[in-house]
């Protein structure tokens, strides 16, 4: 049975805190670009963007990244990355500080794929990672710069993130 481990208020608070940390560690947010990994990472990006706007009155560009074609953990027969066409990023990331956002950080493969996609789209000055949940079990040397909540899990467990924009309510469940 699914058990709610983070409620809406806690999620809201975690996103606010990530925003404060982004401001704090970047000494200004001029060069920032937010890139959300589809689907829920995009909502995370938008929520951070609206918070930054409220606090600093600056509009930060937000882009969406669909990394399904890049995933190396998929059993697609098609593995030749160079042949996969992705939606081009609609913003310029050259010399920008890109903050990649996703809902859950797990093996790290999704993030690696996202970074591949970013690199093929330009040459960012720096890439940081912000996630709502870090659940451990990394298979690659990847670590998030901004974490909403660290949640220890067994590999058998599933983490389910619900967000208002798509699921009607904010919560994180474990099952």
């Amino acid at each position: 049975m699914a058990k709610e481990i983070i409620d809406g208020q806690t999620m809201t608070r975690a996103l606010t805190r990530i925003t404060y940390e982004i401001i704090e560690r970047n000494k200004g947010i001029e060069d920032l670009v937010l890139v959300g990994i589809k689907t829920r990472g995009v909502f995370v990006a938008h929520r951070i963007e609206s918070r930054l706007k409220q606090l600093e009155n600056i509009n930060i560009p937000v882009a969406e990244l669909d990394i399904t074609p890049y995933r190396d953990d998929q059993t697609h027969e098609e593995k030749d990355i160079s042949k996969v066409k992705t939606e081009p990023l609609n913003i310029d990331i050259n010399n920008k500080h890109v903050i990649l956002t996703d809902d859950v950080l797990y093996t790290g493969r999704t993030i690696r794929a996202a970074m591949d996609a970013l690199m093929s789209a330009g040459r960012p000055k720096k890439i940081s990672l912000a996630v709502l949940v870090d659940r451990g079990h990394r298979e690659l040397p990847i670590r998030a710069d901004f974490v909403g909540k660290n949640i220890p899990t067994s590999q058998k467990e599933k983490i389910k993130v619900s967000m208002k924009e798509i699921d009607g309510e904010d919560k994180i469940e474990i099952e």
Partner: protein
């Protein structure tokens, strides 16, 4: 017995005396707190103050001694409209309690008229007396309220509030016990120190974070504490509450202003700027930060009062410093603000994590 509440400007409010029969003078504060008379009267912020409560039928709910915010009350007098002779839980009645604390009180005062007068003319000194002649009014005018309010309420000796978690040093400017209650709830291992403790004394305690507490009076009367903040803020995460946050602001070239309409109300809405989330929290402050200086400072405004736009929360852009003007520990008031303590702990944890990363890689 008939007594009079006399304001500095000569306005007289007649009423009936209760409690101690001494003549008293203090800064008159109009409190719109819905509940928590016990907390307000024992709050060290009440040092040197005459508290006028505007709620009707004071004391029905009884007096709960578990709600004390300090051991001894510092309040100089209480003013109320109506009160109840007995209590719902059989505890001591409000008037008997005030008598036992040896505080002078005056009841059957038209507190609405009083609140209106103060709202129009600003906060002022007042006195509870037996007569209301010219002489009495001259006396109040001549009286200078002591500027060393914090000195009177701050602990002289450091003392611990032991636990097993993060080590927090609390600089006591007039600390409410409920701040300690919130820290205990979060397993914090706290040490409470005098407001004038030196930087070295605080550093010797190896804190994970420092809290500058709430307290009475004008922040400009505390230049040494402000200097200490300027040094300590570079090394430790700071949380300022009430007076504490004003000191942090002053230590960072922000200016403060006196509020046209002071906030003394146990439930006023505060909005978190980032998320738009509205919380109802206890307010007890007459000063806030000057909007004009905040833009050029290194602070961002994190919370504002919904009703009048007053700055209620700040955060440093680069350093782990946060401050709130309202009282996150409630006591009295809604508990919506408790999250501020979680946020401060998150702030400390995140600093620790960063340091961990740095030391791993260096």
């Amino acid at each position: 017995m008939k007594r009079y509440l006399i304001l500095e400007d000569g306005t007289v409010f007649p009423g009936e005396g209760f409690g101690s029969s001494i003549i008293t003078t203090g800064q008159l504060v109009i409190s719109n707190n819905r509940t928590g008379i016990e907390q307000s009267v024992t709050d060290p912020d009440a040092e040197g103050q005459i508290l006028a409560f505007t709620i009707p039928s004071v004391g029905n709910s009884g007096i709960n001694r578990d709600f004390y915010e300090s051991i001894n009350s510092q309040c100089k007098g209480v003013v109320i409209g109506s009160s109840s002779r007995s209590t719902v839980d059989g505890s001591i009645s409000f008037e008997d309690w005030i008598t036992s604390l040896k505080i002078p009180g005056i009841k059957n005062v038209d507190v609405r008229a009083l609140a209106k007068h103060i709202a129009e003319h600003g906060e002022m000194k007042a006195s509870i007396m037996d007569t209301h002649d010219e002489h009495a009014i001259d006396q109040i005018k001549a009286l200078v309220l002591p500027p060393d309010l914090v000195k009177r309420v701050s602990t002289r000796q450091s003392y611990p509030n032991p636990n097993m978690g993060l080590k927090i040093v609390i600089v006591d400017l007039g600390l409410k016990y409920s701040i300690l209650r919130q820290l205990s709830y979060r397993d914090c291992n706290s040490i409470i120190v005098n407001y004038n403790s030196t930087v070295e004394e605080i550093e010797d305690l190896h804190p994970d974070g420092i809290i500058y507490s709430n307290g009475p009076g004008d922040p400009k009367d505390l230049p040494r504490t402000i200097k200490n903040i300027q040094i300590l803020q570079k090394k430790y995460p700071l949380l300022g509450i009430g007076l504490g946050s004003l000191l942090i602001a002053l230590a960072n070239e922000c200016q403060i202003v006196k509020l046209a309409h002071p906030h003394h109300e146990s439930s006023l809405a505060v909005k978190e700027v980032a998320s738009g989330k509205i919380d109802f929290v206890n307010h007890n402050h007459s000063y806030t930060l000057d909007q004009k200086y905040i833009g050029s400072s290194d602070f961002i405004v994190t919370n504002v009062c919904v009703a009048d736009g007053t700055i209620e929360g700040i955060r440093h852009e680069f350093l782990p410093i946060m401050g709130v003007l309202f009282e996150p520990e409630a006591a009295p008031g809604p508990t919506d603000g408790y999250y501020v303590f979680d946020e401060f702990i998150d702030l400390i944890e995140s600093v620790k994590q960063q340091e961990g990363v740095r030391s791993q890689w260096s």
